[in-house]
C-alpha cells in the first residue's frame, strides 16, 4: 500500500490510545477485529474511535449490514460522519436499480435453497416484472408446478411457499417462469454425463443441474429487452462445464443487454469472472451479505446511521 500511494504508511497496533499524525500522512490502524467490543457495537469503543478523528468516513459497503463499533457505532459519535466514494457509488448504483428502476425489471435469483433466499424472493416478487429462479430454488418451483424432479435438490416443505410467491408475482403482472427444459445428470460430479430433456421428462434417478437451451433462450430474450437487471446467483452448477451453459447464456445476455445491470454475491461474481463479462455489467456489488439485505429491502444499520447524521 505504501508503494501504491507513493508514501510510507505507518502501521499502528496500539491506535485506540491515540494516533500521532499530521496532514499528508497515512496511518493504518491494525485490524478492528481484535478490539474488544467491536462485534457487540460497544458504545465506549465506538466513542474512542470517534474521538480519534474530526471526520469519520464510512467506505465499506460489505460491512454496512452489521452494526459494529467501527461501522454503525463510530458513525453515531464522530464529530462529522460521511460516506466515502466507494460506499456512495455503491448505494447510488443499487438505489438506481431498486428505488426507481427503468422497466421492465428482470431479477435472477439462483442458489441451492429457497429457504436462504426466501426474504429476497418475497421482496423481489412484488417489485420486478420477471423473477428468474435458478439452481435448487428453481427445482422447488418446478416441483410446485407439478413436474417430476427425480433426485434433484428440492425443499418439498416449501412447495406452498413457492406457489404463494408465484401467485403474488402474477397478481402484480409479474411472473416467476418455470423452465421448459433442463439439463440433468445422474450424479453430482465433474464427470457426470449431461442430458437435456423436457421438464416433463425428468426421470426418477435424474438430478437437475442446469436450465436447458430453450429456457436459456427464453430467459436471454427477457434479459435483452429488460430496462433493469438484478442478478444474484447462478442458474446451474456452472463449476462443471457441462452444466454451465445456462449461466453462461444468461451472463452473455446480460452483457449484451442495454439494461442497467447490477450483480452481487460470491457465486455470481465467480460466474462473471469465468465468463469474462465483468466489464459489461453496470455495477458489481462488493458486498455479499450486505447486497442480499439491500435486495431484501432491509435498512443497513451503518447507512441508516449515516442518514441520521446527514444534517449534523
Amino acid at each position: 500500500m505504501s508503494d501504491a500511494l507513493g508514501l510510507t504508511v505507518r502501521v499502528d497496533k496500539d491506535w485506540l490510545s491515540g494516533v500521532e499524525i499530521a496532514p499528508g500522512q497515512v496511518v493504518l490502524c491494525e485490524n478492528v477485529r481484535f478490539n474488544v467490543g467491536e462485534k457487540a457495537n460497544d458504545e465506549t469503543l465506538a466513542k474512542t474511535m470517534a474521538g480519534l478523528c474530526d471526520v469519520f468516513v464510512m467506505d465499506a459497503f460489505g460491512t454496512a449490514h452489521r452494526a459494529q463499533a467501527s461501522t454503525e457505532g463510530v458513525t453515531r459519535f464522530a464529530p462529522i460522519a460521511c460516506a466515502g466514494p466507494l460506499l456512495s457509488n455503491e448505494l447510488d448504483a443499487l438505489g438506481k436499480a431498486l428505488d426507481a428502476p427503468a422497466k421492465p425489471v428482470v431479477a435472477i435469483v439462483g442458489g441451492s435453497k429457497v429457504s436462504t433466499k426466501l426474504t429476497v424472493l418475497d421482496a423481489l416478487s412484488k417489485q420486478v416484472d420477471q423473477l428468474i429462479v435458478g439452481g435448487g430454488i428453481a427445482n422447488t418451483f418446478i416441483a410446485a408446478a407439478g413436474y417430476p424432479i427425480g433426485k434433484s435438490l428440492v425443499e418439498m416443505d416449501l412447495i406452498d411457499e413457492a406457489n404463494r410467491l408465484t401467485d403474488k408475482a402474477r397478481a402484480t403482472d409479474g411472473d416467476i417462469p418455470v423452465p421448459t427444459d433442463v439439463v440433468c445428470g445422474k450424479e453430482f460430479s465433474a464427470q457426470a454425463q449431461a442430458e437435456t430433456k423436457s421438464v416433463a421428462d425428468v426421470a426418477d434417478d435424474d438430478m437437475i443441474f442446469d436450465i436447458g437451451p430453450d429456457t436459456a433462450k427464453q430467459f436471454s430474450d427477457m434479459l435483452k429487452s429488460a430496462g433493469t437487471i438484478v442478478w444474484n446467483g447462478p442458474v446451474g452448477v456452472f463449476e462443471f462445464d457441462q452444466f454451465g451453459a445456462g449461466t453462461q447464456a444468461l451472463a452473455h445476455a446480460i452483457a449484451e443487454s442495454s439494461a442497467f445491470s447490477i450483480a452481487g454475491g460470491g457465486d455470481t461474481v465467480a460466474a462473471i469472472e469465468k465468463y469474462g463479462v465483468a466489464d459489461q455489467i453496470s455495477y458489481i456489488s462488493t458486498g455479499g451479505g450486505a447486497f442480499l439485505e439491500f435486495l431484501e429491502g432491509k435498512s443497513l444499520p451503518a447507512v441508516a446511521a449515516l442518514e441520521a447524521r446527514a444534517d449534523g
Binding site: A4, E38, D54, M58, D59, G62, S88
Partner: protein, 75 residues
Amino acid sequence: MQGQKKFKRMQDLDLQGKRVLIRQDLNVPMADGAISNDARIQASLPTIRLALEKGAAVMLMNFRYNRSPIICPMR
C-alpha cells in the same frame, strides 16, 4: 438525482488539516477469491488519495480475518 440516499459525502467536505478516519473493506468474503485482496486494496486507494489531496491526515480502519500484512503490488 432520484433514488439517491441522503447522507454527507466525503467528496463534498472540506478536509483541509482535518483528522480523517476511514473505515475500509479489505476483507475477502468471497469464497472463490473472485474479488481478491489486491482488488479490494486497489479499489480503496482513490478514497485515500482524495482525502490526502484534500489536505487530510488519514487514518485507516479495517477488519480482516487473516493477519497477513497488506501487500499491494506496484502498478
